[in-house]
Symmetry: C2
Subunit: 93 residues, 2 copies
Amino acid sequence: MQTIDLIGSIAGALTTFAFLPQVIQTWRTRSAGDLSIAWLATFSAGVLLWAAYGFVLRSWPIIATNVLTLMLVSSLTVIKVREMETWRTGRRR
Amino acid sequence: MQTIDLIGSIAGALTTFAFLPQVIQTWRTRSAGDLSIAWLATFSAGVLLWAAYGFVLRSWPIIATNVLTLMLVSSLTVIKVREMETWRTGRRR
């Protein structure tokens, strides 16, 4: 593997697996008040488009890291949306 | 511009500018309790490495989007670390 590919692989692994501790914290605390829904929505759309980019290029590393990131971010969005619904219906924690 | 480059450009713009509403919310509320410091640290390291990847490839779009993302994420980290210090010294909100 060339140095440049190694740098890219480590970078991809870091920006993908970085979401793991965030997901663990958010599921453990069930608290997502400080997460911006606009960030979650826009970031998810971008990651989905990165996966599409990888699909067009037939680049499995780009597809795999972005699909995994999308799954992790989606689990944050689930907690966030549930929390917003709870707030909306007045059942505050 | 080819379709593939257009997809990549829109994807890059989305995953970078997605952090803008998060930064605005976090600076406005001064509340970062739901943000995982492990996520912020690992993601920042990954984004820095993506910028290095772009530098080696002499790819200005990769450098620019990742440097901008790193600046936005760093401003979240500043609030998070300040909040952790406040908690540590017992001056709770």
